[in-house]
Symmetry: C3
Subunit: 281 residues, 3 copies
């Protein structure tokens, strides 16, 4: 299988500590012709589910690539460093904490998985042995693996094969459509304040066009909002809450030029109920 | 006309939601050899004028390139997706909301403009048809256009020609020099807290060197500041306000190692009056 | 000496004002095949020591490169623009304010230093003369120098040789190990809230494994914390303070999934005392 030269890179490192540059330097020193495309380094600190979502959405827009992803609160513990290959001939490199699996699915599903044994990988990859820190596997394990893969080496060099079903999986976000509406977890709040729900728009098909929105778990006296179904932000009046199919095909709540997340006081992981006006689930 | 392989990219997407990576992935999948240079993705949310200023200043420092710019609060409404060519053989791609025009002027002026018809563009560019979202034209329209342009395809493939004079223009920021000073809008506040004014330094030529600075619209009792004309930050004493020619040739107010914007409590769009000490306009 | 094509770039510019793109545009216009790797542009505003630390840690992970670094509160004053070559055949370009010296040491030490004379550099580099601003030498002096170096031109073209010992040096951060513990400056607080100390772990070798941590200069009544020596974050219970060898070989204080810097209320430059529990230095 021919591997491409693009290495995408997603992490929760931020740019301020030099961690991103450290990984990029390691990759460049192993494969000077690797092209590195930064997907995001502003994933919330330790937010594995948030990173998994962004990675799954974005990775499939690239041509087949080596996808390096490091959101790794368990670094240095028993959690394993892994490499996954996909039906689309991508390779995913990162920790076995669920970060990579949604991406693998969005790339056609896993075709194989390997445990990274750093000593073996460096030996078979032609690299001198080096110390492995307990706190920065991005630089010491994952970046070298991505660099070797981007050179065309087979994932088998990294270590022994793993049973794909043995990999750590995240609890999928919850959503349920019922006769008069739906409940769904908030899976994303973006820079624009849009509130992304774990609810496929095509499963929901909101009718009628005026809906009641309630934030769950706030008790009896919790405020209830009214949302209008629209196609885009610009159709909304100032302050009017909209419900739309977002660009990933999910239901999202939005304002025009302001933050719906702030208006509704919601955070990732909260649950939202959407119902026909007057009908309560 | 030979088109270059660099695609510059400016937006208000931020890096956290994966929007930048989504566009970069689309470009890479169409033109794997395109080189993407990120100008900024931290333009204020929906701040078309702010994005237009940065783009106009920076684009001309690159060799002729495809400049992709997306600050697009009207995405999915009647506002049009456009491509503009310039006398310097650059191509600008983005929404018809005024974002691109100052850049076109800084690149020698427009030599042509086209409406992007996504179906036609994909057909003539050899791409399979694909769904177009209502909320993310960066990924679905503008990035594919930039990728095709970066491959050397002519802008004509995107759609029908537009009359350049028909494009949406932003109200230019206000400035006026009078005999004893000047009034000007604040057009930029940078990370250092420098306050950039819409006032060309060479038109202002501040004499004498001690000036009164007043923030407009604050009424009679508004504080008045004294600024000294200097060449650079390091000439200023701690806490002393300076007025200088900034690196774009405009008048700016600055402190040494601190934020002039904070001291003066100014924001973009406010108006500032600069006058000879004692002489009030 | 053959010079590589990678230009690394570190600054305190942030991404919002277009300063990064301006420098990248200048480099691309002089050497279109230069590959630019952004180490960080989120160095604290004017924080020369912070930038020097990150640069020194990261630059040596790259293959030999042109390292452009601009944290330059003295821009336009008497401080000099310089180029430094290293034993490892890297070239460092930036202001003579101490920013580059730790990096040069981490790259094997200086092999030469030159003052940049912008007029001479542009003439010998085949560039048309251009105005030099007083406030943005990143764009006007350092980026052109990095671009010419990345083309393979010798640093000698930039200007006259300097005596390496004459360059401005930063005061190194303070650390001292004594019989019952150590004192050390806080040199880094990263996005995860880890508190990095100027204390090589191998010089400290903490025994026993429970330590008292005290923040200096807080007086008699200052709180004292207990830290446990661990290998990685995941070994810590919620709220438990850990002391570990960080990935750069230094002593760091950390929490598991939370900010140790916030818990301890420390900032860069403060001093920390670590002692055996019960034993006070």
């Amino acid at each position: 299988v021919k591997r491409p030269k693009i290495v995408t890179f997603l992490s929760d490192f931020g740019w301020d500590g030099g961690y991103v540059g450290a990984c990029e330097g390691v990759i460049a020193s192993i494969n000077p012709s690797a092209r590195i495309a930064h997907i995001s380094h502003d994933i919330g600190v330790g937010d594995v589910a948030g990173g998994a979502l962004i990675l799954a959405r974005v990775c499939k827009l690239y041509p087949p690539a080596a996808h390096l992803a490091v959101v790794d609160p368990g670094v240095g513990t028993a959690r394993q460093p892994i490499v996954i290959t996909t039906e689309r001939t991508d390779v995913l490199i990162g920790p076995d904490n669920g970060l990579l699996l949604a991406a693998a699915e969005s790339l056609g599903g896993m075709s194989g998985a390997w445990l990274i044994d750093p000593r073996q990988m460096r030996a078979k990859g032609g690299l001198a042995q080096a110390a492995i820190s307990s706190t920065f596997h991005g630089r010491d394990i994952f970046a070298p693996a991505a660099a070797l893969i981007s050179q065309g080496l087979e994932p088998e060099i990294c270590g022994r094969a793993l049973e794909p079903s043995s990999l750590v999986r995240l609890e999928p976000p919850h959503w349920r459509v019922h006769t008069d509406g739906a409940n769904a977890d908030v899976i994303e709040i973006d820079r624009f304040g849009n509130v992304g729900l774990a609810l496929p728009f095509d499963e929901f098909l909101p009718r009628p066009e005026i809906l009641a929105v309630e934030i769950d778990g706030e008790g009896e006296g919790s405020p209830e909002w009214t949302a209008r179904v629209v196609n885009t932000y610009g159709e909304l009046r100032p302050g009017e809450l909209g419900l739309l199919r977002d660009s990933w095909g999910q239901v999202a709540l939005a304002l025009n030029g302001a933050s719906a997340a702030e208006l509704l006081s919601v955070r990732r992981g909260m649950s939202v109920r959407v119902a026909r006006r007057g009908d309560r689930a």
